[in-house]
Symmetry: C2
């Protein structure tokens, strides 16, 4: 989430759509791109020309933020200034190319970017995908692991997965955080004060039937309240509950 | 790719759609699920009832493979037998819950599954998402890292990302492989035989102008041909090229 998109714009990878047919898919691809901060779209031979109103309608405003798409007649034209290019394919081809997962490709691309290279991710037309001649112009292949019995990603979803992995590979979001809203996790003493009070009250009420088992039961109660990492506010709530329940 | 989907079916996570509005989105979600081997769909209070022809039309056949969706009136009903449940949200809520990235959530879910727990991933209605009351019923939150200035995932795309991470976390696809088609990487001797022959021919043609620089130039040529890990077939091709170019 802390990604500074403006900073990496200069070396932002290009997303190249080859011969896309439906304007809606171009728009959905632009939207998928911008979700992950990708702003450089190139389109090779769009069937319905460019600009395309259906693309703009589908993009949910994405075209107002990304760079204006560049239009090319040939894939070679779209790749002219790129140095490391990844072709996305759904199935293996009889071609000697490194085949990356999206995750490994993202890492590889970023490594090349760190060395100053300009990157491209190439996506084929709906249904048919990239031809072998198109793939031959690319340095690498990306194939996403999918259910072998049902592989059915549309164009925007393919762009989404590559964009996601690229974004994640640069991202610094904590894998897990405990959302505490406006209240902090309670200091240990607050929890301890509550637990001691609870134990004292339980003792007075005759809750601990056996002195032998008392330490175990106390330990279990402490484990329950401790592992939830209660906030300061929650400790106050628990104290209030205890007060309410023990009222005469 | 080596995932045996039938084996994990018994403990397959449930995907719960809460109050989805458009049948098309339910169908697209089913399709997204099956791409990653998820077959258990539950739907809470679908606006247009169930079954829904628009959902089936959009699913590209996915409903023929996944289990028949289970329909519930309430989220509590849909969660009744689940033990660890993740609510997907686009924005932080004022609630004390662990917030996972999709990747960390997938790992966490699989860990719980390995301990025998049944998992659920919950997705809110289009546009509005899950209410705070719905999220409160779930154990954990998943929020995907997205461009903070343009977060625009549709329902099926959200399902896609969670399904993808879950699938990947179980997947054993090599991150990178060199696709050699029907031909293997050439044994070293084949490459060496070609390189020696090339050097001999170059020597005869007076290519190496300076005896001092010859070792360096030879080394550079060897590096070029070696780092591409040529296949047996490619070595034969190179030998053919050399024969053709040196013909009288």
């Amino acid at each position: 989430m802390q990604l500074e998109i403006t900073k990496i714009d200069k070396i932002m990878p290009a997303v190249i759509l080859v011969a896309p047919q439906m304007g809606e898919n171009i728009g959905a691809a632009a939207r998928a791109m911008l979700n992950f901060g990708l702003t450089q779209m190139r389109i090779v031979a769009p069937r319905d020309g460019w600009p395309n109103q259906k693309a703009i309608d589908m993009a949910a405003g994405a075209f107002e933020t990304i760079a204006p798409p560049q239009i090319f007649e040939t894939l070679a034209g779209a790749l002219h200034d790129l140095q490391v290019v990844y072709a996305t394919t759904a199935r293996p081809r009889e071609m000697i190319k490194p085949v990356f997962t999206p995750r490994a490709a993202a890492q590889d691309a970023i490594t090349h970017e760190q060395n100053g290279a300009k990157i491209g991710f190439v996506f084929g037309a709906e249904r048919t995908g990239l031809t072998n001649a198109e793939i031959a112009q690319c340095h690498n292949i990306i194939t996403a692991p999918l259910n072998p019995d049902f592989s059915s990603l549309n164009l925007a979803q393919a762009v989404l997965l590559i964009g996601y992995e690229y974004f994640i590979a640069r991202d610094t979001t904590a894998a897990l955080k405990l959302e505490h809203g406006k209240s902090e996790i309670a200091p240990h003493a607050d929890l301890e004060q509550f637990l001691s009070r609870l134990e004292k009250q339980l003792d007075e009420k005759g809750f601990f039937r056996s002195e032998d088992l008392k330490p175990t039961v106390q330990r279990n109660i402490r484990a329950l309240f401790t592992r939830s990492l209660p906030s300061e506010q929650e400790i106050r709530t628990l104290q209030g509950i205890l007060t309410a329940l023990t009222q005469k």
